[in-house]
């Protein structure tokens, strides 16, 4: 069974790489957004799934990336790929600024602080109106680039998943997990939990920053409400919880299942959709806290690299 995995993965990647040649416009856009969600979910997993520190404001990095890239493209004429990478960098800087003070806080206090983060950023965006366009948003010069963005998003998603694999199989990853298991004992074993949390936090901000920039380019328009919405944080969290936090393929599975469902059924009924997400969170936390893959992992004693 394990032998088949790599060839199957290679095949899947090949199919995905060739898809835009035959795929419809809608299909490409669907996959593009799916890649984005995979990247977001996997990133959230890196901090919250591995260390147990719930990041409620993670979408802030997406927004930061969107605005950084958006401003670079609209005001300075940067090419969008470079601008998106700069968006990733911007997000990491933000993560450093926030993480440095906030990660010293213990679990629940950190969560509260992150909850407020979104709001602070939204206010900041309105304040710096000249740069960001404030409440009326920022427009980018029009460009139809769905296919290149498809590849960019796909590569980012693949990169983050690969990063997750590397981390989970390393001692660095093990130490991150000890923070989740028992932070006091981890410190007694000489692990500087603050530093490890910070590294994980920074790593978890890169991909959201990049895809934020890519999404801005894709939509050709950003406004505060569209890049800092609570629903995106909720969606990220649900995807990871449902698929299996702390696993490698869990976020991918969660993203695929829930995004597909979202597009096909629920996008029309926004409140019902969010209500359902809330219900899923409640159900998963109560009945299946380890998510689908987590449950399978435990039941069949699967390796951690699942």
């Amino acid at each position: 069974m394990r032998r088949l995995f790599l060839p199957l993965l290679a095949l899947a990647l090949l199919i995905l790489a060739l898809y835009p040649i035959k795929g419809t416009g809608y299909g490409v856009r669907f996959m593009l957004q799916l890649f984005m969600w995979i990247a977001l979910a996997q990133s959230w997993n890196l901090i919250s799934g591995l260390t147990g520190y719930v990041s409620f404001g993670h979408i802030a990095f997406f927004g930061m990336g969107a605005y950084t890239a958006g401003i670079l493209i609209a005001k300075l004429g940067w090419p969008w790929l470079l601008a998106s990478l700069a968006g990733g960098l911007g997000a990491v800087v933000l993560a450093l600024v926030i993480g440095f003070p906030c990660l010293r806080l213990k679990g629940p206090y950190f969560a509260i602080a992150m909850l407020g983060l979104n709001e602070v950023l939204r206010v900041a965006v309105s304040y710096f109106e000249r740069l960001t366009g404030g409440g009326s948003g920022l427009s980018l010069p029009a460009l139809y680039a769905s296919v290149p963005i498809y590849y960019a998003m796909g590569l980012t998603a693949a990169a983050v998943t690969a990063l997750a694999y590397v981390i989970v199989t390393s001692r660095f990853g093990l130490r991150l997990m000890t923070i989740r298991e028992d932070e006091v004992a981890a410190e007694a074993m000489g692990i500087d939990t603050f530093r490890y949390k910070l590294y994980a936090f920074l790593l978890s901000a890169v991909a959201p920053g990049i895809v934020g920039g890519l999404a801005a380019r894709d939509q050709s328009y950003i406004e505060p409400i569209s890049v800092f919405p609570l629903i995106m944080t909720i969606t990220m969290i649900v995807m990871v919880l449902f698929g299996g936090k702390g696993t490698i393929w869990g976020p991918v599975l969660g993203a695929v299942l829930l995004f597909t469902l979202q597009e096909m059924i629920w996008a029309r009924f926004i409140y019902l959709h969010q209500l359902l997400f809330g219900a899923i969170i409640i159900t998963v936390v109560l009945l299946m806290p380890r998510g689908i893959l987590g449950v399978l992992q435990q039941k069949y004693n699967l390796p951690r690299t699942i």
């Binding site: 409620f56 679990g107 206090y109 602080a113 409140y271 019902l272 809330g278 409640i282």
Partner: protein, 284 residues
């Protein structure tokens, strides 16, 4: 001018204290950070609105409906959901109450729509010498004080109140003393929800009512708890007043836009400098 600001701050602060006490009770007794505290307040506000709309009921009278109603809702939430994660890692309780809050807000969206509502009941101000304060604020403060005092009297003098305080200090010892900890948990969640509902009712007369109105109160309640010390009930009182004062004072110097962010920035600052609270709190 300063006097006006200070008294305004205290008026608002009393309301914050009451609502935060609700959150503080839940946290003190069960170590649960109830992210859905704000939505519970929102439901209280809607209760008042609909009673006003359909029956023309005086909003302040509707307190006797909104508080017991949300008390029961709180009991139900605790019994059905929160009870199961009290001993789980913090991640679980946070996510669970987060999920509940999303569910409540969106239920409200579906049931009530996102249209802004208001309770046009009391307008105008009381003028006292050089000061003028909006009537609804003053009355809200008065009710908040009465309710909060009532809560404290309950905690200090009644058997159940003492049991709640005992469980807040040490669950094991309380159990050994024969206290039914499960019942106390339910009670605490119920009372906490009722206090949130009271906040919602009082606020309904003053602000626009919509499903997302509660979120800012969740946050401010957290802030008050952190200011006053986790698990420190009288501390919540002082913390609320302090928050009210700070907000009003900062509005003198900052634009309204930045003023919104004051509460958040303040929270992070306090958490960094003294996470156990400005007053003597208990480490969580």
């Amino acid at each position: 001018m300063l006097g006006q600001v200070i008294i305004s701050g205290l008026l608002a602060g009393a309301l914050y204290s009451m609502v935060a006490l609700g959150l503080g009770l839940i946290f003190g007794v069960m170590r649960v950070l109830n992210v859905s505290h704000g939505p519970l307040l929102m439901l209280g506000a809607y209760t008042t609105f609909w009673l006003f709309q359909w029956l023309g009921l005086n909003p302040y009278v509707s307190l006797v409906v909104s508080m017991p109603l949300l008390f029961l809702v709180g009991l139900g939430l605790q019994r059905l959901f929160v009870r199961r994660v009290v001993d789980a890692p913090e991640l679980s309780t946070l996510l669970l109450t987060f999920g509940i809050s999303i569910a409540l807000v969106n239920l409200a969206q579906l049931a009530f729509t996102a249209d802004l509502r208001s309770v046009e009941f009391l307008t105008g101000s009381f003028v006292m010498g050089p000061f003028a304060f909006s009537k609804s604020r003053v009355i809200a403060c008065a009710f908040a004080i009465v309710i909060t005092l009532g809560a404290f009297v309950f905690l200090k003098t009644t058997r159940l109140g003492k049991a709640i305080r005992a469980v807040s200090q040490s669950r094991e010892v309380a159990q050994v003393c024969g206290i039914d900890v499960g019942r106390i948990h339910m009670l605490a969640f119920g009372i906490g929800s009722a206090l949130a509902a009271a906040g919602g009712t009082l606020v309904a007369v003053m602000v626009a009512i919509q499903p997302e109105m509660g979120q800012i109160y969740t946050f401010k309640s957290f802030l008050v708890i952190v200011l006053g010390g986790a698990g420190n009930y009288p501390g919540a009182l002082l913390g609320g007043l302090l928050l009210g004062l700070i907000e009003q004072m900062s509005s003198l110097f900052l634009t309204t836009q930045i003023n919104e962010a004051v509460a958040y920035v303040l929270l992070v600052l306090v958490l960094l400098v003294r996470p156990t609270g400005l007053l003597k709190g208990r480490a969580s």
